[in-house]
C-alpha cells in the first residue's frame, strides 16, 4: 500500500489510477464519465435540497482506502448471518470483495435457480458475458444528479449480476450478504448489483448488510439497478444492519415496463449515517410499484430516506409506506416525492410516512412531496409524527400489563404493519427478532409472526 499518511479522502481516492483488468476496460468510458460527474457535482451542502437534513462532514473528513486484503473470517461467522429457515442461495462479499470460498458454489446456484438463469459476480459478467450485461449496466445511473451515484459510476467494482430469462420463475431468493469487518483503515466500497427480469420472469433478491463489529468504520455506497420487463415481478429486500460507526448509502434504481410489478422492502437498523434512495420509474402502462420501509434509530444514528417515484406512463399505481421509530438522539429523515408526468393519466399514487419518537432528543424531518403534471390522477399523501399514544398504554395497563411491556408492544405493533407486507416469512421473523432486540425494555417480549 502506498503512503498511508497521505490524506486520501474520497475525493482523492477516486482520482487515483486504478488497476482495471483489460477485460473490463470497455466500461472505462462509463467510469470516466462518473468521475467527471463526481467532480462537477461536488459534495452537497445544506443548500442542496436533497441533502438539506444530512450532514456529510464526518464522511468527507474520513480517510478511506479503496480495498484491503481479504479479511480472515470463518465460515461459522458467516453462517451466523444466514436468515434462519430461508431456503436461499448466498453470495458473500467481505469488505466489498467477493468470497468464493464462503459463497454457494456455481453448481448449487444452477441447481437452485435453474440452468438458464444467470447469477454471478459482476466482474465475471463484465468480462465473460458482456453482450448480456452491456445493455443494462449503468443505464439507470448514466446521468447522475447525486454525487454518490456519480461516485459509484466512477468506481464500478464488484457486485452481482442476475438475469432471469423470459417466463422463468425463480423460487429461491438470491441472498447477497455483505459483511464488513474492522480494518486498519476505513474502506470505501461501491458494490453494484444489476437485476434483469425479462418478460414475465419472477425473481426475489435480498441485499443484506452486516458487520462483525460496531466499531468498524467504512463506507458502503451500493447501487442496484432493477430492470423489470413487461409482466415481470421483482421483489427486492434491503436489510441494513451495518456497524454503528459506518456510513451506508444505498440506491435502488428500478425501471418498470408494461404491467411490471416491483416490490421494494427496506429496513434500516444499523449504521451511523445511512442514506437510502429508492428511485423507481414506472415507464410502461399498468405497472405497479410497492415501496415499503422501516427505519429504527437509537444512539446518534442518522437515517435518511429519499424516495422518488416517477410515473412516466398511464394507468400505473404506486404505494409507498414508510415508518420511522426514533429513540435517544437519533434522527430520521423522510423525503418522498411522487412525480406524475403529463402522459401519466389515471395514475393512482399513495404515499404514507408515519413516525414515532421515543425520546425528546430524537428528531424527525419529513417531506412528503407531490409533483403532478397530469390532471386525471389520484394522488394522496399522509404524514404523521407523534409518540406512543398514552391512552393505548393505559388500556394495556388496565389489562394488567406493565407499562414497559405495553409500550414495547405498541411500538412493535407500529413497526410490524410493514413486516406484514413482506412476502418472505423467514425475513419477517428475523426482523421481528431484530426489532425486539433493539427496542428498549422489550427483551422479554415474544411475538409470533
Amino acid at each position: 500500500m502506498t503512503l498511508a499518511t497521505e490524506p486520501h479522502k474520497l475525493d482523492a481516492v477516486i482520482d487515483t489510477s486504478r488497476d482495471i483488468p483489460e477485460c473490463q476496460s470497455w466500461l472505462n468510458p462509463f467510469r470516466d464519465a462518473g468521475r467527471e460527474a463526481f467532480n462537477r457535482l461536488g459534495w452537497p451542502d445544506r443548500r442542496n435540497e436533497s441533502w438539506r437534513f444530512t450532514n456529510l462532514d464526518a464522511l468527507k473528513a474520513t480517510n478511506f482506502v479503496s480495498a484491503v486484503d481479504d479479511a480472515d473470517i470463518s465460515a461459522n461467522t458467516v453462517g451466523g448471518f444466514a436468515i434462519p429457515e430461508l431456503d436461499d442461495v448466498t453470495l458473500v462479499f467481505v469488505n466489498g470483495r467477493f468470497r468464493e470460498d464462503l459463497s454457494d458454489a456455481p453448481d448449487k446456484l444452477a441447481n437452485k435457480l435453474g440452468t438458464n438463469v444467470t447469477c454471478c459476480r459482476l466482474t465475471e459478467a463484465i468480462c465473460q458475458h458482456r453482450e448480456s450485461i452491456e445493455p443494462f449496466i449503468g443505464k439507470l445511473t448514466a446521468d447522475p444528479d447525486d454525487v454518490f451515484t456519480a461516485l459509484s459510476n466512477a468506481s464500478v467494482e464488484d457486485g452481482v449480476f442476475i438475469r432471469v430469462p423470459r417466463g422463468v420463475t425463480v423460487d429461491t431468493p438470491v441472498h447477497i450478504l455483505s459483511i464488513a469487518t474492522e480494518t486498519d483503515e476505513p474502506v470505501a466500497t461501491h458494490p453494484r448489483n444489476v437485476i434483469v427480469a425479462e418478460e414475465g420472469a419472477h425473481v426475489t433478491v435480498l441485499e443484506h448488510y452486516v458487520t462483525t463489529s460496531d466499531d468498524a468504520v467504512y463506507l458502503n455506497n451500493a447501487v442496484t439497478e432493477v430492470f423489470a420487463d413487461a409482466e415481470a415481478v421483482v421483489h427486492h429486500y434491503l436489510l441494513e444492519k451495518e456497524s454503528e460507526s459506518a456510513f451506508n448509502v444505498s440506491s435502488l434504481f428500478a425501471h418498470l415496463a408494461e404491467h411490471a410489478d416491483v416490490h421494494s422492502h427496506t429496513v434500516l437498523l444499523g449504521g451511523k449515517l445511512v442514506r437510502n434512495n429508492v428511485l423507481p420509474t414506472l415507464a410502461g402502462p399498468r405497472a405497479h410499484c410497492l415501496i415499503n420501509g422501516l427505519y429504527v434509530g437509537h444512539g446518534d444514528q442518522h437515517l435518511d430516506n429519499a424516495m422518488r417515484v416517477n410515473h412516466a406512463a398511464p394507468d400505473c399505481d404506486s404505494r409507498q409506506f414508510y415508518k420511522g421509530i426514533l429513540n435517544d438522539q437519533s434522527r430520521g429523515v423522510f423525503t418522498g416525492r411522487i412525480i406524475v408526468d403529463q402522459v401519466a393519466q389515471r395514475t393512482d399514487a399513495v404515499q404514507s410516512n408515519r413516525n414515532m419518537l421515543l425520546s425528546d432528543d430524537a428528531r424527525v424531518n419529513a417531506r412528503p412531496q407531490l409533483e403532478i403534471y397530469a390532471d386525471d390522477v389520484k394522488c394522496t399523501h399522509g404524514c404523521t409524527t407523534g409518540a406512543v399514544d398514552p391512552e393505548n398504554v393505559f388500556y394495556f395497563m388496565s389489562r394488567g400489563l406493565s407499562e414497559d411491556v405495553a409500550r414495547a408492544m405498541l411500538i412493535y405493533a407500529f413497526a410490524a404493519e410493514g413486516f406484514g407486507r413482506m412476502e418472505l416469512a423467514p425475513v419477517r421473523q428475523l426482523l421481528a427478532a431484530e426489532m425486539i432486540a433493539k427496542l428498549p425494555k422489550a427483551q422479554g417480549l415474544s411475538i409470533e409472526v
Partner: protein, 509 residues
C-alpha cells in the same frame, strides 16, 4: 442584532461617504439603480430620522452580500428582476382621464365582479372624488337599504379631505387605535416602530425582505392598545389602488395584550401595475391574549397567455405570538400575479398560542405560485391549523410548500395540515412540498394531501340539471374552497366567490 463592530463600520462609512449628499430633494424620481444614494434619497424624501436611515443602510449593506435563492419551484423559467433597472422612488402615477381610456376588457371584469361604476372609476383613479368618498356616496345613495348596522371598514386613507375616513379616524382614535401609514408612524410613533420593526422579520431574513428593508416605500401601521377590540375592520383596500404605494410595501401590525384586530389587504379588482417586482414585508406582533386576523385577496396582473408582463409577487409575511394565548390567523386568496412566492408564517412563542393559515391559490394562464406557510411551535400546548386549497388550470403551476416545526420546548403542541389540489386541464401542474420537523415526543403533527381532477360525475350532475358547464365548474371550485372562504370577512367572501368564477373563465373544455 447589530454588533458594535457593525455599528462602528457604518459610522465610519458615513463619515467617509465621499460622494456627499447632493441629490436634489425636490426631485420626484430616484434615478434607476440600487445603491446607497437611492436609499438615502428615499429616506430623505420621507423625512425619516437618522435611526431609520441607518437601519435601511444596514439592510442594503447586507443585501449586497446576498444571492437570490434558487430553491423555489417554478417550472417556467422567469427572467430575474433587474434590480438595477428599477426606480426605487417615484411620484404617484398619472391616472387615466376618463373611462374611455381604459381597456374595455378590464372594465368588463370590473362589471362581472359587481363593482359599481363610481367605485370602478375611483379604483382606477379617474375621479375628482377619492374612492372612499365614492363608496360613501354610494352608501348614502339609493342602494342604502342595507342594514345600518352593517360592518364598518376603515380604510387607511391618505385622502385627508375625505369625510368618511375622518369619521373612522376619529372613532379609531377614541378607541386608542393608531392606524396610519408607516411613514407617519416613523415620524409620530418612533418608539413603537423602533421596538417592533424588524422584530418579526429581521432585515437580514431573506433576499427580498432584505431588499424591502433597504428601500421600502410605504405601507400601513396599526397599533391596538391593551385590552382593546378594534371597533372596525381595517383595510388598505382603497389606498393601494388609488395611489402608488410602490413595489416595496411594509406593514407592521401590533396587538398589545388582550387586543384584537382584523385587517384586510388587497381587493378583488384586477390591479395593473408597471412595476413588475413587488416585494412586500408584513410583520404581525400579538402580545399576550391578543388576536390578529389578517386577510388578503391578491389579484395583481397575471400577465398574458404566455405569462408576459405579469407581476412578481415576492412577499414575506410573518407573525409572532409573543405572549401566552395569543392567536394569529392568516387567510389568503391568491389569484393574480405571474409568480407568487410567499409563506405567511406564525411563530408560536407564547404557551397555548395558536396559529392558523387558510389559503386558496389559483393559477391559470401561465401563472406560477409557490406558496404555503411556516408554523414554528416554541411554546407549550401551541396549536396550528393549515388548510390549503390549490387550483391549477390553463398552464398554471401551483405549489404548496410549508414547514411545521416542533421545537423541543413545544410540549403537547399539535399541528393539523390539509392541502388539497385540483387540476383542470392537462397542461397544468399541482405540487406539494411540506416539511415536517419534530423534536419532541409529546408534539403531534399530521399532514394530509390529495390531488385530483375535478369530479366528472359532479360536473355531469350539475349540467344534467341545466347548469352550464362553466357555472358548474365554478360551483364545484367554490365548494372545494368553502373551508377557506368561511374564514374570510363576509364582504370579502362574496367577492372571492365571484373572483374565482371570473378567473376560471375559459378553463372548461
Amino acid at each position: 442584532m447589530t454588533t458594535t463592530a457593525e455599528v462602528a463600520a457604518i459610522t465610519e462609512e458615513r463619515r467617509e461617504y465621499k460622494y456627499g449628499w447632493t441629490t436634489d430633494i425636490e426631485q420626484e424620481f430616484a434615478p434607476p439603480g440600487l445603491n446607497e444614494d437611492t436609499v438615502r434619497f428615499i429616506s430623505a424624501k420621507k423625512g425619516e430620522p437618522a435611526w431609520m436611515t441607518d437601519w435601511r443602510l444596514k439592510a442594503l449593506k447586507h443585501f449586497e452580500k446576498m444571492d437570490e435563492p434558487d430553491w423555489v419551484f417554478l417550472p417556467y423559467v422567469y427572467p430575474p428582476p433587474d434590480l438595477q433597472g428599477i426606480s426605487y422612488y417615484a411620484a404617484p402615477k398619472k391616472a387615466p382621464e376618463s373611462l374611455d381610456e381604459v381597456d374595455p376588457a378590464l372594465l368588463e371584469t370590473y362589471e362581472k365582479l359587481g363593482i359599481s361604476l363610481s367605485e370602478t372609476k375611483a379604483l382606477l383613479g379617474i375621479t375628482d372624488a377619492a374612492p372612499a368618498q365614492a363608496v360613501a356616496e354610494e352608501q348614502s345613495g339609493e342602494g342604502s337599504d342595507a342594514p345600518s348596522g352593517s360592518r364598518q371598514v376603515a380604510v387607511d386613507a391618505v385622502f385627508d379631505s375625505v369625510s368618511v375616513a375622518t369619521t373612522f379616524q376619529k372613532e379609531l382614535a377614541d378607541a386608542g387605535v393608531i392606524f396610519c401609514s408607516i411613514s407617519e408612524a416613523i415620524r409620530n410613533h418612533p418608539e413603537l416602530v423602533k421596538k417592533y420593526l424588524g422584530s418579526v422579520v429581521p432585515y437580514a431574513d431573506n433576499y427580498y425582505a432584505c431588499l424591502n428593508s433597504a428601500v421600502f416605500s410605504d405601507g400601513s401601521f396599526v397599533y391596538v392598545p391593551k385590552n382593546t377590540r378594534c371597533p372596525m375592520e381595517l383595510s388598505t383596500y382603497f389606498r393601494i389602488n388609488a395611489r402608488n404605494t410602490g413595489q416595496f410595501e411594509r406593514t407592521l401590525i401590533i396587538a398589545d395584550e388582550g387586543a384584537e384586530v382584523s385587517y384586510l389587504e388587497g381587493c378583488t379588482a384586477p390591479q395593473r401595475d408597471e412595476n413588475q417586482l413587488h416585494a412586500a414585508v408584513v410583520e404581525l406582533v400579538a402580545e399576550k391574549d391578543a388576536k390578529i386576523k389578517y386577510s388578503t385577496i391578491q389579484n395583481w396582473y397575471p400577465g398574458d397567455e404566455d405569462g408576459k408582463g405579469g407581476i412578481y409577487n415576492f412577499v414575506t409575511k410573518r407573525g409572532i405570538c409573543n405572549g401566552d394565548r395569543a392567536h394569529i390567523s392568516w387567510t389568503q386568496v391568491e389569484t393574480g400575479s405571474a409568480i407568487t412566492w410567499k409563506y405567511p408564517s406564525v411563530v408560536m412563542k407564547g404557551d397555548d398560542s395558536k396559529g392558523e393559515f387558510y389559503s386558496v391559490a389559483l393559477t391559470t394562464l401561465k401563472q406560477q405560485a409557490d406558496t404555503g406557510t411556516k408554523m414554528i411551535h416554541i411554546g407549550k400546548n401551541t396549536t396550528s391549523t393549515i388548510v390549503s386549497k390549490g387550483i391549477s388550470a390553463g398552464r398554471g403551476h401551483n405549489t404548496y410548500r410549508g414547514l411545521v416545526e416542533m421545537r423541543k420546548t413545544a410540549k403537547d403542541a399539535h399541528n393539523f395540515t390539509q392541502c388539497d389540489s385540483i387540476l383542470i386541464g392537462d397542461q397544468c401542474g399541482a405540487h406539494t412540498f411540506p416539511y415536517v420537523d419534530v423534536r419532541n415526543t409529546t408534539a403531534t403533527a399530521e399532514h394530509e394531501a390529495s390531488t385530483t381532477k375535478i369530479a366528472e360525475d359532479q360536473l355531469f350532475y350539475c349540467t344534467a340539471r341545466g347548469i352550464s358547464e362553466e357555472d358548474a365548474m365554478s360551483l364545484l371550485v367554490n365548494g372545494f374552497c368553502k373551508e377557506v372562504f368561511s374564514e374570510l370577512p363576509m364582504e370579502f367572501a362574496v367577492e372571492a366567490n365571484k373572483l374565482l368564477a371570473v378567473s376560471l373563465e375559459g378553463s372548461v373544455g
